[in-house]
Symmetry: none
Subunit: 243 residues, 2 copies
């Protein structure tokens, strides 16, 4: 299980662990480069790389001549919350159901290995599920999961628990990437979602990272007539908008 890990990555993990666990609160000073050199028995360049990358990633801030500090974690905006579709539908007072279309192990190909940022990846879990609201298909979920991060993924019966719930319980989500596109459905999608060929769809593509590795890649397809993505949120007090 435990891959050979570069030294700078070990240092980063150690620091992140302390931040995530709450042991090091925002504003707290983290070990200096020289202190890391001693405690990890590494060169200063390696310690520097760990602190520099964590700074670039937004976890730390550095002040020359003073030290390195845990940064306030910015309020997360909510357009793309990881909502559990079953709960979302239940919240609207409707009946949730699902149909499991595919569930199994598939061989990786170069494109999938690239998506998972892991050349060595040989096999992946793959599931396809249709989620229904009052019996009407509203979402087609096509998901690949990294077996090394969630080895027991296929043990679940996804009629009772959604894949999202399983994954959230199994691994922390450190980072999310979303892409939203408009598409016309493939013939298979038309069949599974029971829609016309000219019904436009929203395709939400999402990658989730856990501990610096891609845990799952999913494409969610929504018929336009039955679903829209929505969010509303207050902006952060500092008004931090790009430009």
């Amino acid at each position: 299980m435990s891959e050979a890990q570069p030294l700078y990555a070990k240092v980063k993990d150690h620091i992140l662990e302390n931040i995530r666990s709450g042991a090091w609160e925002a504003g707290r000073r983290v070990p200096s480069e020289n202190e890391l050199v001693e405690s990890f028995r590494i060169s200063r360049m390696t310690a520097n790389r760990a602190l520099r990358e964590l700074t670039a990633e937004g976890f730390l801030s550095r002040v020359p001549g003073v030290g390195t500090f845990v940064k306030e974690s910015p309020a997360l905006s909510s357009l793309m919350e990881l909502r559990n579709i079953a709960e979302e539908i239940a919240q609207r007072g409707h009946r949730y159901s699902s149909r499991l279309i595919r569930k199994g192990l598939v061989d990786a190909n170069p494109a999938l290995a690239e998506e998972f940022e892991d050349r060595a990846l040989k096999q992946l879990f793959h599931i396809v599920i249709v989620h229904e609201e009052n019996g009407v298909p509203v979402q087609l979920e096509d998901r690949h999961v990294n077996p090394s991060l969630v080895p027991d993924f296929l043990d679940h019966d996804f009629t009772e628990t959604t894949p999202t719930a399983v994954l959230l319980a199994a691994t922390p989500v450190d980072e999310l990437e979303h892409t939203v596109e408009a598409t016309l459905p493939t013939t298979e999608q038309q069949r599974l979602l029971n829609i016309a060929a000219l019904e436009p769809c929203l395709a939400l593509y999402r990658r989730s990272w856990s501990r610096a590795r891609v845990a799952t890649v999913v494409t969610l397809t929504y018929p336009a007539s039955r679903y829209a993505l929505y969010s509303r949120h207050r902006t952060n007090a500092r008004g931090t908008f790009s430009q």
Copy 2:
């Protein structure tokens, strides 16, 4: 003007300049670390840092044993941020242009008054703009603006400054609402965006509040083939996700 610049930054700038200018197209091999060592008279670690950072920033991709290459820059728009589309396009090294279709004062109707949460609203600013990337329409902006919040809105010439930039400069953004839908284009949209009737589009509807009042309501229409919405963010260190 010319600040003292670290060596790795000079190397990064040199490479970015070549990418932005189009001299180095996507897929093209960039100089190897050893080649940079020779041409810039730097150490390999410095060359490595430049290439590694540009890779982390999404400009390059590296393949061990093979080389470093200019990455495709897909047209992607951040969902979460209020990005200025002109800067976004410029950032990709492409040419931004726009066509002003409509600009003026319109009477409010009940639906608009409802959207602006202000029954007393009598008139509104209205603009329609087509934004182009390398001369190709990529976004249709249909925007209403609350005159009481941005009285001088129409004084601007939107060929030089985008409406987003004008609004961000004029009022703080306190709250945002987004809805994303997939649509098929109306005939007018087909004409303005120069797309086929069967080209699906993303419709991003956004309301912005400033000081508890709706400042602007905008619908941004993107042809699916030319644009996707994109966001990537780190989750809060404490892992605060809904559900």
